[in-house]
């Protein structure tokens, strides 16, 4: 059979990406004092950048205190138990930072 006669080929990519009816959590502006947590990914100057961002947020929201959590590797997610602990004691979390 020559290559021109091929009639069926198989799809090579991932076929399981089916996100349906994604609904984000409701957004609300906090009015009571709360804890802001920031997650430093370990990259140079991430702490400083996130610290500045926290300062700007303190001007806008009733932030009682800011907690910093540092990861050991930017290439790995926060450990599940640490993430749960942060979520339990924080009203707001900044979780993303790039290079």
């Amino acid at each position: 059979m020559s290559s021109c006669e091929i009639s069926i080929v198989l799809r090579p990519d991932y076929e399981g990406d089916q996100i349906e009816n994604f609904v984000p959590a409701p957004r609300s502006v906090p009015t009571e004092p709360f804890t802001l947590s920031i997650i430093d990914n370990g990259k140079p100057k991430a702490k400083q950048l996130l610290g500045e961002l926290a300062s700007l947020l303190e001007d806008r929201f009733p932030i009682a205190n800011v907690e910093l959590v540092s990861k050991s590797s930017a290439g790995k997610p926060l450990e599940a138990d640490v993430a749960q602990s942060v979520a339990a004691r924080s009203r707001m979390v900044i979780t993303g930072i790039g290079d």
Partner: protein
Amino acid sequence: MAEQLNLSGTEAVEYFFDRGWTDGLPVIPPTPDLVEKSLGVVDLAPDAVLGSVPERDRHLTAEKAAINSVMAGCKAEYFPLVVAALEAILDPQFNAHAVMSSTGGAALCLIVSGPLVEEHGFFHLNNALGSGSRANASIGRAVRLVAMNVFGARTGVMDASSIGHPGKYSMVLAETTPPTGWPTFVEELGAPTGSTSVTVLAAEGPRQIANHLNPDSRGWLLTIASAMRCPATFTVGKGAQVAVVLGYEARESLAHDGWSKDEIRSFLAEHSRISAEELESAGVLLELDGAHNMAPEEDGLLPSVSSPDDILLVTAGGPGAGWSAYMPAWAPIQHSRVTSRLVTKAGHSEIIGGKDV
């Protein structure tokens, strides 16, 4: 089961380009009969899971691995080795998510050791890291196509490589028989006689190392160590796993002079250490307040490799004027570790060498 597409051979090649399912080169259209042939060699069900990348909520089935293996140009008999390589890549210690997405642009470098090197016709002497061998080219290409197609490691999607390097098409290093008295790579992993291993390193591009005139074998090692402590390499001063390829003249000279592989690793680890002043004189600022602690140690120096055991010492390359090579890991050891698997005739591969290599 994978979706079936009704396309002629010519149409398929262009359709796969249009869908972004290639590495930039034409692929072999993955017909059901070719895919079944590969799956038959390993006796795995199409929906058998070889591993996953949890951060991407994606898993790899044997069928998708076989489809991409066919596309890469692999013979069916290569498929057990492809399975072993992919299962090593999907070991959590390797951290495939970060390796495949980082701006550092790592290759999925495979190191193959054992009888399958000769059986499949890998280049392990001349052009050991060059072109011309179907096994070297297509097996490395297969794992890259899986990364792209199954795990989304594509430009503009989930591969943020700033520069990348040609090893991202394929990067396979096959070990040639070491000089008498030295263990093979697979023997160092602790495998039974007759085994073939696949080890995966998230690698920067290879550096060729020249030493053409020095009759002293210690001189060979000093030259290699100097390449390993180049300040421009991201991991220098931080500590990582690296592969060192001992070319023909280097390995023969070193073995003749009585060096063992352990002694070579210790020498290279010690002599690739670098001072803060050398790094700073090259314009490199030390990271002191992040994940990489670059505070000099008691001797005032910083490591380029994490430990002697983190040097993957591989014999490869043909005779010439005196060439060796070196490939550093793309990132320090806390971000990714080398993983190894033994190739099996059927079914899943076997875990081997779980400590440092």
